[in-house]
Amino acid sequence: MEETQKNKTLVIRNDISELNRLVAFLEKLEEEWDLPPSVIPPVNLALEEALSNVIFYAFEKDTEHEIRLNFERRGTAMVVVVTDDGKPYDPTQKEDPNLHLSVEERPIGGLGIFLIRQVMNEVAYNRVGNKNQLTMVKTWNT
């Protein structure tokens, strides 16, 4: 069985409406790379959560920034790297929410990063120079 290796980059602006462009890009990627149906939905969710955090919290108000998304298929793994030049922020350090609280006790926020860790197989953060780099991997069986 041959090792399929593919690579694609998407650059978006730090604007939440860019998430719509991401969705379209991922739909196309699923088709082009002939990915099984279990891959893109969790990748979409993880990216939305990661990017929402970057777009809302990483930058000074009213500044324009680029966020680079790199996608690589290595056989039965999809490696996604999100790079931004915002404030240093390691999302992997965030504490998990308490899932056993009652409705009244559950706080409204705090789920985003937890979901990334749940739906992706690997999540790693690096600070590279003045950039945040978040690497997420989704694997599947074939």
Binding site: I16, L19, P41, L45, S52, I108, G109, G112, L115, Q118
Partner: protein, 109 residues
């Protein structure tokens, strides 16, 4: 995202189709809040067409549940797609929401 609402006395029916994400969760929030007038006691949420939800959407569900509970009302979700049910399971939401397989069982409960 497409939202249809219908109120019948104390019962409100909401059907949401498509995605609820960070770009459009406000629409969903406004639609369910508009339906909640003083006399609605039960809200039935048809999730059969809901095919994507992120934490922004989950937050609205939670806020809605909290609101219904403080007013003594009941929120019932039904016909959830498996992938959405999985997200609810992962976030611990399945234990704090009343989730039914279909409209009939939701109405009977």
């Amino acid at each position: 995202m497409k939202i249809t609402t219908e109120t019948n006395g104390p019962d409100a029916f909401v059907q949401v189709e498509g995605r609820i994400d960070t770009t459009n969760y406000n629409e969903f929030e406004n639609a369910v809040n508009d339906v909640l007038n003083g006399s609605v006691k039960q809200m039935y949420l048809d999730c059969s067409g809901l095919n994507y939800i992120s934490s922004s959407g989950l937050r609205i569900f939670l806020a809605l549940q909290k609101k219904m509970m403080t007013t003594g009302g009941k929120l019932k979700l039904f016909a959830m797609q498996p992938s959405i049910r999985e997200i609810f399971d992962i976030s611990g939401f399945s234990s704090i929401f009343a989730i039914f397989p279909d409209k009939a069982t939701a109405l009977q409960a």
